[in-house]
């Protein structure tokens, strides 16, 4: 006798349809799972058997073969528990097998038969919708996430409820579509907390308005990280499409909050500087997204930039240009989106004494040189806005609270609209100024284009119709300074 369910395996961020077949035959009782199942998936045997027995259903005393097709695709994780259990129950006719048509299933079983949520439900639900399946059997906790895909989730807390539903004896409560429920939004840190630091605030606003990558350099303890953390709060809100992209990525790595399944706030990722290349760009045998992808549509913050391993920094160059990362591994290839905004901070020298009037730099010329060599010209060129922040004097910190994120955010949103509609063009005078600057300052061809881009953003923020000289002059102030790259 044969039972069949449909579920989805994840390849990168994509769901591939997997058919789970269970076949009962005569022979020594036992359960074998075939079809490239990984360790977690093989262990399903024990969970499924205990789950079925705990649910007071009958464990068929036959020789059971479970096949996960296509057999060539690698399957990972515990989400196959529920589909395997249902295939076995269907094969032993404990509910009418045809009731499973137009259903997909995903979920992990506890030994007492309860259903546990798994990662990647949104991607699986989208896969089900594309395959024309209207309903997804899943854990109650995953239901809201599945609903985001525009599919009808059948939430269940226990295997008994799933079987009851398939027997037509129990109707689960409907899940509200597209909702984040009652949970209040997470409070983002506000720019009003930052006192003084006018130049840095201005740079942050520019970075937000033009989507520019930002490098903050300065002695330790002047609030570089504090400033960076306030960038998501002044960026315009995510569109629904963008929110779904972000949610899908976070779902796959299991980082979604249960209360607010839809990620409607821009992500802020700050990996530690010991991070490996794979943890940043993604990798692993079945490629998993890395920090760069988790920061998609949000902010990737690299604190202490020169402390990162050189290969990690270099590996970010291509994604910064292209907005996608293609990770190739022996077992598969995955393409991850990574349209993030890069914000980095660094000290001006290894000892942190530079830019600080109170201390003297103790670094030897060799040490300073090797510190700077870590940041290749090519990488520094990816930062449109670079600001060197000397330590503020005490008087500057005693000032009034700064403008709130909300006020800055409004200007940023207006500037973004202006830039999208029609970016202001340079006047002749400002082009002349740019040419003069290229002659006099160490400015590469790419650096010139970068200054021009920032000047456009400044003009848009000033609601000007053209890029005037003053806008260009200000943009030149944010070029990467010679001493950082010499």
């Amino acid at each position: 006798m044969l039972g069949r369910t449909v579920t989805h395996a994840l390849v990168g961020l994509e769901a591939r349809q997997v058919e789970v077949e269970a076949h009962l035959q005569n022979g020594v009782p036992g359960l074998a799972i075939v079809g490239l199942a990984d360790r977690a998936c093989q262990e399903a045997k024990h969970r499924v058997r205990s789950g079925i027995v705990s649910a007071e259903l009958e464990w068929p005393s036959r020789r059971i073969t479970v096949n996960l097709a296509p057999a060539g695709l690698r399957k990972e994780g515990s989400g196959f528990d529920l589909p395997i259990a249902l295939a076995i129950l269907a094969a032993s006719r404990q509910f009418p097998p045809d009731r499973l048509a137009s259903h997909a299933a995903i979920g992990e079983l506890a030994l007492d038969g309860r259903l546990r949520p798994v990662a990647g439900v949104l991607a699986a639900a989208e896969g089900a919708r594309r395959a024309g399946l209207g309903r997804l059997l899943c854990a109650a906790e995953s239901a809201a996430e599945a609903a985001l895909a525009g599919i009808e989730p059948i939430p269940a807390r226990h295997l008994v409820e799933v079987v009851g539903y398939l027997r037509g004896e129990y109707e689960p409560e409907a899940v509200e579509m597209f909702s984040n429920g009652e949970a209040p939004p997470v409070e983002l840190p506000d720019l009003a907390d930052v006192r003084g630091q006018e130049r840095a605030r201005r740079a942050l606003e520019l970075a937000a308005a033009g989507g520019h990558n930002l490098l903050l350099a300065g002695p330790p303890g002047i609030g570089k990280s504090m400033l960076a953390r306030r960038l998501p709060g002044i960026l315009p809100p995510l569109t629904r499409q963008e929110a779904l992209e972000v949610t899908r990525i976070h779902s796959v790595v299991g980082l979604l909050s249960r209360d607010r399944p839809l990620m409607d706030q821009r992500p802020f990722r700050a990996p530690h500087h010991s991070a490996s290349v794979a943890s940043i760009v993604g990798g692993g045998s079945g490629p998993k997204p890395g920090e760069a992808t988790l920061a998609h549509r949000g902010v990737l913050f690299l604190d202490e930039l020169p402390e990162f391993q050189r290969p990690v920094l270099e590996s970010l160059r291509q994604p910064l240009e292209d907005g996608v990362i293609a990770v190739a591994r022996v077992d598969g290839r995955a393409v991850f989106p990574c349209r993030f905004q890069l914000v980095a901070s660094m000290n001006m020298c290894p000892c942190g004494g530079r830019g600080d009037a109170g201390t003297e730099c103790q670094c030897s010329p060799q040490r300073l040189a090797s510190f700077r060599e870590k940041l290749s010209r090519a990488l520094l060129d990816r930062f449109d806005v670079v600001v060197a922040l000397p330590r503020p004097r005490a008087a500057e910190l005693g000032g009034a609270a700064g403008e709130s994120s909300e006020a800055v955010g409004r200007r940023v949103a207006a500037a973004r609209i202006r830039l999208e509609r029609e970016a202001p063009a340079r006047t002749d005078a400002s082009t002349a100024l740019l040419d003069r600057a290229v002659e006099r300052l160490p400015l590469s061809g790419r650096g010139r284009a970068r200054v021009a881009r920032v000047a456009r953003t400044i003009a848009a923020l000033a609601e000007a119709d053209a890029v005037e000289e003053e806008h260009l002059a200000e943009a030149l102030a944010y070029r990467s300074p010679r001493e950082l790259a010499q």
């Binding site: 201005r202 730099c361 030149l476």
Partner: protein
């Protein structure tokens, strides 16, 4: 190119010192007679402060503009900045190596040395293939002192190689100038000690020109800048400051301050280092 001591083109000032080198190796397109020009050495710490770097560059530029030859040691820090300043003014400049003439040491200054060779000279008393070694640099310093009529020490720690150069210069009866530094900064301890011993303090390039009896170059008119920039310049002249400090004092917003500072930088009136802006001249 090799210049033996017996060669008539061997610089006479250098020949006059206590132990002139047996020969000089030269590289670059500059004429060997360049070494007979009136020359001033600008030397100082390798790990100099931004202030030291800016003063060195300014001196290099102004000395070259006054028609003097700028001589230094092609090291990091003050030496390199002095050479760069001279190149900025379009003047020839001479670098003295402490290793074989075929070497670029330190390697970071290889590009600078290429630029200097175009019109200027890089010289050494060591034949090709000689490795740089700690004891060769003091020996190199005696050549710098020997080539020059005056030596300016920009910034030097207590036991800096620049002080050795100054010692050699004094022994040979050449002028020694020192740039006054902060009395609390260990980076200026050596140069300030030199002042205490009687070196002439230097606050502008004119001090050197007067001592050498060279006519001052007419100060070029200050470039035209906008009102905001002039206001900012006045504040920067009160002392080095960060952009935020200027924002508060000039009553301009952060964007306008940045624009004004760029304008001043392009006009050569202000230089930035590590986020701190300083007035030049």
């Amino acid at each position: 190119m090799k210049l033996a001591r017996s060669d008539p083109r061997f610089p006479p000032r250098l020949k006059a010192i206590f132990d002139p080198p047996p020969a000089l190796y030269l590289r670059g397109t500059g004429n060997p007679e360049l070494l007979d020009c009136r020359a001033v050495g600008v030397v100082g710490a390798r790990s100099c402060s931004p202030y030291g770097a800016q003063v060195a560059r300014m001196l290099g530029r102004d000395l070259a503009a006054a028609g003097l030859l700028v001589v230094s040691g092609l090291a990091r820090g003050v030496d390199g900045e002095a050479h760069r300043g001279a190149l900025e003014a379009g003047g020839p400049t001479v670098g003295v190596l402490g290793c074989g003439i075929d070497r670029d040491y330190p390697a970071v200054n290889a590009a600078l040395s290429r630029r200097m060779e175009d019109g200027g000279l890089v010289i050494s008393e060591y034949e090709p293939g000689v490795e740089p070694a700690p004891w060769r640099f003091p020996a190199r310093n005696r050549i710098i002192a020997g080539l020059c009529e005056a030596v300016v020490v920009v910034e030097a720690r207590e036991r800096s190689g620049a002080l050795i150069t100054a010692d050699f210069a004094l022994e040979e009866g050449r002028e020694v100038f020192a740039v006054p530094g902060e009395i609390t900064s260990s980076l200026s301890a050596g140069s300030n000690a030199l002042l205490k011993l009687g070196a002439t303090p230097i606050t502008a390039v004119d001090d050197v020109l007067d001592a050498l009896g060279i006519e001052r170059v007419a100060a070029s008119a200050e470039p035209e800048v906008s009102d905001a920039a002039r206001r900012v310049l006045a504040l920067v002249r009160d002392g080095p400051s960060g952009a935020d400090e200027l924002t508060a004092r000039a009553a301009l917003d952060a964007g306008a301050i940045s624009a004004a500072l760029t304008e001043l930088e392009l006009a050569g009136l202000v230089a930035a280092a590590d986020g701190v802006f300083r007035a030049l001249r």
